[in-house]
């Protein structure tokens, strides 16, 4: 899973969000490292909807403009959980090995 996709799904794990909300949330949870551009975001949202990982939640009109909220589907939740577990397992292995190196050199 691409990092941008992972971050979008992570943003939606906290509840339904609209496009602009996803962009700001992804920037926040990545400490400003991942900055999604609108075109990139909507390409990803289109693909995620097609894969049934997200779905529209509701629509609002704000200042005369449409605002559509998206939420994770059950498949999306499951997929994000699996990906998070995979990344966590890798991180754990890396940290364990780094500690071993630290222990050896100390």
């Amino acid at each position: 899973m691409q990092e941008a996709t992972f971050m979008i799904l992570t943003a939606l794990a906290n509840g339904a969000q609209h496009g602009y909300g996803i962009i700001t949330d992804v920037e926040e949870i990545s400490n400003g490292r991942v900055r999604l551009r609108p075109g990139t975001l909507y390409t990803a949202l289109d693909r995620l909807r097609e894969d049934h990982l997200i779905e529209p939640d509701r629509e609002e009109i704000v200042d005369g403009r449409l605002r559509r909220y998206y939420r994770l589907t059950r498949a999306g939740t499951s997929r994000l959980g699996a990906e998070a577990a995979r990344l966590q397992a890798h991180a754990t292995v890396a940290q364990t090995r780094l500690k071993l190196i630290g222990g050896t050199s100390a």
Binding site: Y20, G39, D46, D51, R65, L66, R68
Partner: protein, 207 residues
């Protein structure tokens, strides 16, 4: 007309790169975000922002919609695009070499040397046709057409027979690369995991 109206009009022009189905459903939503992120007094979309929209629009128009579960078919289609790209590069390299006066007035095309004076037009035409064939097969495969899978396999067999007719190192390398791409494609298309994707009627059932 205000600066914001000018900016919005220019963004709308850029959104024309997206497919009409996307524009109907999401253009207003995307436009709202673009305008919300605009700086005070901004009259034109930035270069990076414009490229992002053009790229996104093109990607949506060109990408093939294959369900995520069918990984082998997805990868096969990607390899077919790679085959088209390799063919195009081969053609471009040959033309470039001719432009620099090299190649002894002969066009190297898909592993075959063509006489420039006689065959260049035919060679470029065949090259274009081969690129179109790769792209057509990729699209037909993505649509789950069984006959495209069979056609791809038959063409691979023909290419295999043809492989031994090459002369010259460059010709062999290009042909071997294209043959390898074809081999991977055929192998992926006939994997058990790909079987469910194809229907004899050519009708794709997506669940």
């Amino acid at each position: 007309m205000t600066d914001r109206e000018r900016l919005e009009r220019r963004y709308r022009r850029l959104l024309a790169w997206y497919p009409s189905s996307f524009r109907r459903e999401s253009a207003d939503e995307l436009l709202a975000i673009l305008m919300a992120r605009a700086r005070d007094g901004q009259r034109r979309p930035g270069l990076k922002g414009s490229l992002d929209l053009v790229g996104g629009g093109l990607w949506m128009r060109l990408r093939l919609r294959i369900p995520e579960g069918t990984r082998t078919v997805r990868v096969a289609v990607q390899f077919m695009y790679a085959g088209a790209l390799l063919t195009a590069l081969s053609l471009a390299a040959s033309v470039a070499a001719l432009g620099e006066g090299r190649g002894s007035a002969r066009l190297r095309l898909f592993g075959h040397l063509q006489s420039l004076s006689v065959d260049i037009v035919v060679g470029v035409f065949i090259g274009g046709a081969l690129i179109a064939l790769w792209l057509w097969m990729a699209r037909a495969i993505a649509q789950g057409k069984q006959r495209a899978r069979v056609t791809a396999t038959v063409l691979f067999v023909i290419a295999t027979v043809h492989l031994f007719g090459n002369r010259g190192v460059a010709s062999m390398v290009v042909s071997a690369l294209l043959w390898s791409v074809g081999l991977v494609v055929v192998w992926l298309l006939w994997r058990p995991s790909s079987r469910e994707y194809f229907r004899p009627s050519g009708v794709l059932e997506v669940h």
